[in-house]
């Protein structure tokens, strides 16, 4: 070791050198798997320019939120209210342009600002009222969704100015679609925030070690509020993009934004335990989910497989990252040796018992003959 000697330190081993890129490996491997499967099953339909355009536009909607959610999760936080915030901000924007005669750009700015306000309120609920983030943002989700319903009831606001529609689905000739550009710009900004600003640095410190952050004089609560406000602003932007994409918005819009975005961020290697995040990982997470759904649709799989696939992808990613983080994974030489620990033997017996009970139950049912109606 060389910690206290002034000699040249030993070179880094492979694991240490690749540590920073680990968050990319998970989604990249799965993206590669999707590409390979599709190359075998449906190459003609999957690999065409128009399809990648569709995938990118799918993913674009979630990029700004994934950026902010990465920061939220890096602080060990979570925000479940983003779907309602997106719907609420888009509804207000809709009223501004349709009923109150505001120009589109002011309405868009208002939507983003209102989103920031919602996020600020979330932050205050968490830091000042000391309501844990999970329950606090879940409750605020109900509040914001309630406001949506109060505001529009069953009305669908539709037919927005073409600029707003362009934000949601506009094409830039010879270039990427406008929403994709917006999404990538927000993620690039997010990368900058994460690595080059106090906000990003303190978000990592707060999530990594809240007590240490407090001890070093970081205003922890203030920075948490900043992060939630940024999350709200990005949800507001997503609301604008959603409204433009469908050219319509209603109170029940965006019901599953929170789960989708959190899944994308977690799949991208950001740790739910805080401190460790990756903007590029979140980008690949968002792309992975969009590619997966597109692939399932292209293969004309039954709808419910989307649910199964999303769940499997999340479990596989998180298990993968946990495995990478384990320091002693090289300790066991063979896979068999790993599986045959005393604990695993007990688990195996337990599993076999459950299976045996199930078999017994179904066996008994079989003995009793067909059901009598």
């Amino acid at each position: 070791m060389s910690s206290t000697s002034a000699t040249t330190p030993a070179a880094l081993n492979f694991r240490e050198r690749t540590e920073g890129y680990m968050s990319l490996i998970g989604p990249m491997v799965m993206i590669l798997a999707i590409l390979m499967v599709m190359a075998v099953l449906e190459p003609g339909r999957y690999f065409r320019l128009s399809n990648f355009d569709i995938i990118l536009k799918e993913a674009a909607l979630y990029m700004p939120m994934a950026m902010a959610m990465t920061l939220v999760i890096v602080t060990r936080g979570i925000d479940l209210s983003i779907g309602s915030v997106a719907a609420l901000t888009a509804i207000v924007m809709g009223y501004m342009v349709k009923s109150w005669g505001y120009p589109w750009w002011l309405a868009v700015a208002a939507a983003i600002s209102l989103g920031a306000l919602c996020g600020f309120i979330n932050g205050m609920v968490i830091t000042r009222l000391k309501v844990p983030d999970l329950i606090g943002t879940l409750a605020m989700d109900l509040v914001y969704r309630g406001f949506c319903l109060i505001a529009v009831k069953g009305i669908v606001l539709s037919r927005f100015p073409e600029e707003i529609v362009a934000i949601g689905r506009g094409e830039i000739p010879g270039f990427l679609p406008l929403p994709v550009v917006i999404g990538l710009v927000t993620l690039a900004a997010g990368w900058f925030i994460y690595s080059r600003t106090h906000l990003g640095r303190y978000a990592q410190a707060i999530g990594s070690n809240p007590e240490a952050a407090e001890l070093t004089g970081i205003p922890v609560d203030t920075y948490k509020v900043y992060v939630y406000a940024l999350m709200g602003a990005m949800a507001g932007l997503a609301g604008v993009m959603l409204a433009g994409k469908l050219n319509a918005i209603q109170a029940t819009s965006a019901p599953f934004f929170n789960l989708h975005v959190i899944a994308a961020v977690v799949v991208g290697g950001t740790s739910l335990f805080g401190g460790r995040g990756s903007m590029i990982g979140s980008l690949s997470g968002v792309l992975l989910l969009a590619m997966m759904i597109n692939a399932l649709v292209t293969l004309r799989m039954e709808f419910f497989w989307q649910s199964v696939a999303s769940g499997v992808v999340i479990i596989v990613s998180v298990a993968f990252y946990t495995w990478i983080q384990r320091k002693d994974r090289d300790g066991k030489s063979s896979l068999l040796e790993m599986l045959l620990t005393p604990e695993n033997r007990r688990m195996m017996k337990f599993l076999l018992t459950i299976i045996a009970i199930l078999a017994l139950i179904f066996g008994l049912g079989g003995l009793m003959g067909p059901p009598v109606i």
């Binding site: 569709i54 799918e58 037919r159 319509a248 019901p255 419910f304």
Partner: protein, 379 residues
């Protein structure tokens, strides 16, 4: 495009053709049309065409005159991941009728939940991209205004014919209208319910609404019913609950009504799932028989409940009409007889209630579910 317009012009001279309705709507305007963002079926259908197709749909199948070599490719984009069996029955009825018509077919389903508007958008985009794969695309929008642009996008595609299921109010804003719309009119059902309820139960009834999700469908089923009984029978709506079309929602809403609004004697439910949940709550509270409760649609589950005298009234759709009519319309398109089709097809709606004999209900049910089968669908 020019060619098409030209042909339309020629066809127009002879008879109103669906192929160019986008240019020629409406056929006539009813009072208040200027205030509506959509056309009523009566404004866009030539007289007698709906009745004629209803008659065809209710009669023995006549096999297609021009033999079809390759299976007709049909894509279905609809929110069928729901409790209501509307979509499954429409699908079954369509395929059975296609069999009877000797039209070979293959189907691809793109399902979603009612609230997943963006997922439907994804499906529409991908199907639009795959226009070489499909001959007919059936689109059941999660919500009409929200999916208007997707209908437009599909209708613009020359690679396939586009049908819209479960809506009958063509939005005026849609640039290129789809080829045909198929639906039961909830407004029509609400009006029938209003007539029946006023006649059976009289005036001044204190009642409650278990509504679905705020939206056009709920406004027609619940809102128009409420307006009608208020105006014509001075009924008093004591409470309204949004049950989001779920069994749980119906259960919760009914429970709340039982606890807090004892004066309520009648509960109007906006779909089957909520009616079922509501009945559960009523029997759990031991209030069975004290409260009149209504369903919506006359689905298998509801008719079972009416036979058990647990549910009192339901506006009953002849459920298989939409699916069977779609099969017939496919035949007409394949035969080149689009001109004989109504732009908006409406299925029949009749009132089923606990005052009917079991045989009467059986006969109604037999007619309604002649393709998809009588009895609760297992799905």
């Amino acid at each position: 495009m020019n060619m098409k317009t030209l042909l339309c012009g020629i066809a127009m001279a002879a008879i109103a053709s669906t192929g160019c309705l986008a240019q020629s709507l409406p056929l006539k305007e009813l009072p208040g049309s200027a205030e509506r963002d959509h056309w009523l079926p009566e404004e866009v259908n030539a007289d007698g065409l709906v009745d004629e197709i209803q008659r065809v749909v209710g009669s023995e199948a006549v096999k297609i005159s021009t033999p079809v070599e390759k299976p007709v490719q049909i894509a279905l984009i609809y929110p069928s991941a729901d409790v209501s069996d509307f979509w499954a029955r429409a699908f079954l009825a369509m395929t059975k009728r296609l069999d009877q018509l000797s039209i070979p077919y293959e189907t691809t389903e793109f399902a979603s939940r009612q609230v997943e508007h963006e997922l439907q958008s994804t499906y529409a985009t991908q199907v639009d991209q795959d226009s070489d794969l499909y001959d007919f695309v059936i689109f059941g929008p999660s919500e009409l205004a929200t999916q208007a642009d997707n209908i437009d996008k599909l209708a613009k595609n020359d690679g396939f014919k586009t049908f819209v299921w479960a809506f009958h109010t063509p939005l005026k804003d849609i640039e290129t209208q789809p080829d045909n719309w198929f639906d039961f009119s909830s407004s029509f059902g609400a009006a029938k319910m209003c007539d029946f309820m006023l006649e059976k139960y009289g005036n001044d009834i204190p009642y409650a609404l278990i509504r679905g999700i705020p939206g056009i469908t709920d406004n027609q089923r619940s809102g128009e019913f409420a307006d009608c009984v208020k105006e014509r029978g001075n009924w008093n709506m004591v409470y309204e609950h949004y049950g989001e079309y779920t069994r749980e929602g119906g259960f919760d809403g009914t429970n709340r009504i039982l606890q807090a609004y004892p004066e309520v004697t009648l509960i109007h439910n906006a779909n089957t799932a909520m009616a079922m949940g509501g009945m559960e709550a009523i029997s759990a509270a031991g209030k069975h028989g004290d409260i009149i409760s209504t369903g919506w649609g006359g689905t298998g589950l509801e008719l079972e409940a009416i036979r058990r005298k647990e549910l009192d009234v339901t506006p009953m759709r002849m459920g298989d009409d939409v699916g069977a009519a779609t099969a017939e319309v496919i035949k007409y398109h394949l035969e080149g007889r689009e001109a004989e089709l109504p732009f908006v097809f409406l299925g029949r709606i009749l009132i089923a209630h606990d005052g009917m004999s079991v045989e009467e209900i059986d006969a109604l049910e037999q007619e309604a579910f002649r393709f998809s089968g009588v009895g609760a669908l297992n799905r």
